[in-house]
């Protein structure tokens, strides 16, 4: 019998903990699924929920304090969409046939929801992690988000 979706997702995420990218990695049961938490970019705690019934992997409240329909909200949706564009090198492109990506803004909290395919769970987790990594390294690196980084992503104001 093969590994369950939860086991595959867990192993895929633990891979990044073993590589030193995620720190303080832990998990808790969560509404029939599992919720992982770990310290990542600039020592910020990230929360990832996996629901095995819907195969959705959610970076919960990835970007806080982003009003719906604000310029930042629109820019974020555009950025995420752009990562599936054919101009992106294939090895970095998010293939929407292999993993679905939606964005939810709930009371100003932007979450990234990835819908995994049953036989492409590892691919889906890897693409989700890489996509969020590009959000942190590229999207948030845009000059207009310096103060946002100070406020929500531990950017030292001495370096801003």
């Amino acid at each position: 019998m093969g590994a369950s979706p939860v086991e595959i997702v867990r192993a895929s995420l633990r891979h990044y903990a073993a590589r030193g990218a995620f720190r303080s990695f832990s998990e808790l049961p969560h509404r029939g699924g599992v919720r992982f938490q770990f310290v990542w970019f600039r020592d910020v705690m990230f929360h990832v929920a996996f629901d095995p019934r819907t195969l959705t992997l959610t970076f919960v409240n990835l970007l806080p304090a982003v009003p719906a329909r604000s310029a930042m909200d629109r820019h974020f949706r555009s950025f995420v969409s752009s990562r599936s564009d054919r101009s992106v090198p294939e090895h970095r492109r998010v293939d929407r046939k292999k993993v679905g990506v939606t964005i939810v803004n709930r009371r100003g909290q932007l979450s990234l929801v990835c819908t995994l395919r049953p036989r492409l769970l590892e691919y889906g987790v890897r693409k989700a992690v890489h996509l969020v990594h590009e959000v942190l390294m590229d999207f948030l690196n845009e000059p207009q988000y310096v103060q946002y980084n100070v406020d929500y992503f531990n950017l030292n104001p001495e370096m801003a």
């Binding site: 590589r19 090895h91 970095r92 992690v129 990594h133 390294m137 845009e142 000059p143 310096v146 001495e158």
Partner: protein, 655 residues
Amino acid sequence: MTERHDGKKQSAVSRRDFLAKSAALGAGAAAIGAAGAADAAAADAAPNMPSIQRADEFTKSLNEPVVSYDFGDERGLTGAEIFARACKEEGLAGLFCCPGNYTVINAISAQGIPSYGGRIEDIMCAAADGFSRVTGEVAATSGTEGPGFTNMIMSIASAHRANSPVLVRASNMAISNEDRLGGIQQMYQQPTTEGIKKYGKRLTIPNRVHEYAAYAFRQLKSGVPGPVHIDFPSEVSGARFKDASELRDYYDKSRYRSECVAHPAPKDIAKAVEMIGKSERPMIVAGHGVFFHKGWDALKRVAEKNEIAVVESGPVRGHFGDEHRLSANLAADALGSVDLVIFVGQYLMPNVGEYRFNPDVKAIRVHPVAEDLGRNWPLDLGMVADEKAALEALADAVPKRQRAAWVAELAAARKKFEAQNDEYYALGVKYSQQTGTVHPAVTGKLMADFLYNGKIPKEQTTYVQGGWTGAGYTRRWMRAHRPGQFNNAPYQYYPIGPDIGHLLGAGAAMQLGTGPQKAYQGAPVFGFTGDAGAAYSIMEFDTLTKYRIPAIMTVHNNNAWGMITAANTNRSAHMYLFQENLRYDKIAEALGARGEYVTTPEQYTAALQRAYDAAVRDKAATLINVQSSRQFLTNAFPPGAQPRNVEPGVTAYSH
């Protein structure tokens, strides 16, 4: 001599002829004999006032014959002379100091070691650091025992973060006065440099002076470089020794240290070759260890043989160069595609996430000593080896391979970066016109055009990148085409201020033709700093002018500390503001240098030309005061204070 021109005047000097002329100028401070035209020009400017000029004793002093310190006569040698003799034997490449520690600096200078006396100990220490960074050689700094030494602390710390082999010397304090508060300026030095030196020692036993010179140079010339701080009291410096038998451990350098370096284990090379073979998009991060240990030819060989991309890191750039088709220095967007990173000579390791690599990237690190392998960045392979030795072994071992898709991706990323630069420049031009000042994106573009796209050979000019907010733009434009061409002055420790010291050090290296600067000996050096930074070190324009170092510093004058964006209440803003339109150019003039004040891009280009001509013709130093606006830091002028920055590569200033 301050000029505001329309930029249409023609150059009086053929820049193409420059290198041929400068080669005849001779090396070293000792050769800077004749008074230049700057003296006369200064006299013309104020006929009824005493002119700024060099003392006769200054030029005579530089032309005095050098002294050789040898045992054999009744007088013997002092501890200071024995220490200086060891410095000479070790090839100490330069001394940058202020008076104090007299017996030692006198003895070093008397032996013909190129020596520069300046105005502020901290900035002279930065000059030693700057000299060392662009030459890879050991330089010394010195000052008085208490105040002079404590003044150096910022630049010692900066040299430590940059892993520069700077020999820090200070102090003639007497042991006999310890705890008695006899005289002035006393303090214990070694605890003050705790954590900002590679090695330090207070020497108290006179007959061990040569032994501890050996300790110093063993540390300065082996392994991972860093500052070494030796202090000894007057009982040591003033002690006399009739012959070598009175000294403990008096060996030649061939016996007290070794040129031997660690070579990579064959199994590590085999594993690295295997990993490179499996990689589709490998990249070498070539840190300053590649420069200091002269690994640039081997780096090029391994990169070209297997089409491995290279991105430079560290305080100095140019050991691979920006224009090579495999260079990723300008290819920020390609960093995220790397599947294997090979850190070579990366002395300050970033944390995971600080460099733009993706979270799946595999990592190899080559480092001269084992203790640092695995720190901050988990490794798939750690290799203890000298950088050059490892690169040579890899170059021999990797097969020839072409990676067309990877090379194309690098090219596309470079194109995207340059397109973004063009976008910033277009905005900068618009903002400059709107405000009647010069936006730093424009300053960077125009300086780069002058140095790399005009008549000057693009490899010629060694450049010092200082400043803070302005640097966010100019750093994107300035290039490195050969080893030692680019000094990222504030690197990592990021002191605001000693940039003119770094310019002085780079200028001395060019004047002397030290190390990789030899081919460009005598060429002018250029730099960039902010108005905040200039204030710390502007007095060294006296030193630049005194020694006839042709140096040109652009000062980005936005009337404020660059970090004014941190003033988040109106009530606190006053602490970040200077008076408006300050004339740093006039200060330079008052110090005998040239000054230029510009408020438009056209004036800036013309000022660069005049400054260059004066540098070539008269060995004159020039400060170009570029009037800018602090409003450029605000969101009213996007991208504001922080244009997009990615590490590693040309926009990097950490690690």
